[in-house]
Symmetry: C2
Subunit: 126 residues, 2 copies
């Protein structure tokens, strides 16, 4: 409990989880952050097509749900680093089978993995 934006409105764990990862870019953000922490600008470049406003909004929601950690350094120029929390890591692992299903059934097994431990490489390095 304590997280999720519609407390008490879920009929099973799946739709609760869907609420957390339902944003258009969230699984991509998860995918990128799983490899290593990113700052805002790097994240924006790593998630092609997202605008600043939307990226900021999705990060806020993921932060509110305890998935990502936001570390603000009081420097100049400003620096903010985003990383996965422990809960974010477990969510990423729970997403593994779904990613495998998608690769096998939707992509023909041709594309990069989704950060399942032991399968992720340097694809998202950039």
């Amino acid at each position: 409990m304590a997280i999720g934006r519609r407390p008490g409105a879920y009929v099973c764990g799946i739709d609760a989880a869907m609420d957390v990862i339902g944003g258009k870019w969230k699984v991509l953000i998860l995918w990128v952050l799983h490899e290593r922490p990113h700052r805002f600008g790097a994240l924006r470049r790593a998630v092609p097509g997202v605008t600043e406003k939307v990226l900021a909004a999705q990060l806020r929601e993921l932060e509110a749900d305890g998935i990502v950690h936001r570390e603000e350094y009081d420097e100049v120029p400003p620096r903010v680093e985003y990383s996965l929390t422990a809960r974010g890591e477990t969510l990423n692992e729970a997403l593994g089978p779904l990613g495998a299903w998608g690769r096998e059934n939707l992509l023909g097994g041709a594309t990069a993995s989704h950060g399942v431990p032991g399968l992720v490489g340097q694809e998202a390095a950039r």
Copy 2:
């Protein structure tokens, strides 16, 4: 491949899968159909709050994606039965860990399971 509504637009298996289960009611439909086939009206009653139009639309998409099978019986009164395909069953299984994550992290482990084989009971019978 051959399924998914944005062929070639995915960066990893996860967002491809998200496209398939992204509708507001789709995971619920999956949950209900996993237990046993349902006809349209029964499905509508089993998924509380959905309207006919939206239910029909989501079923069409799931059918186009090869997740559900639509069996039309030429009787009077008309009868149509919806069931999961083999691909739908594997998708349901791939959703298992995510549902477990949601129950543990969002619901406190209090709610019914999502049809993970061996865990589903009569909760969705209704």
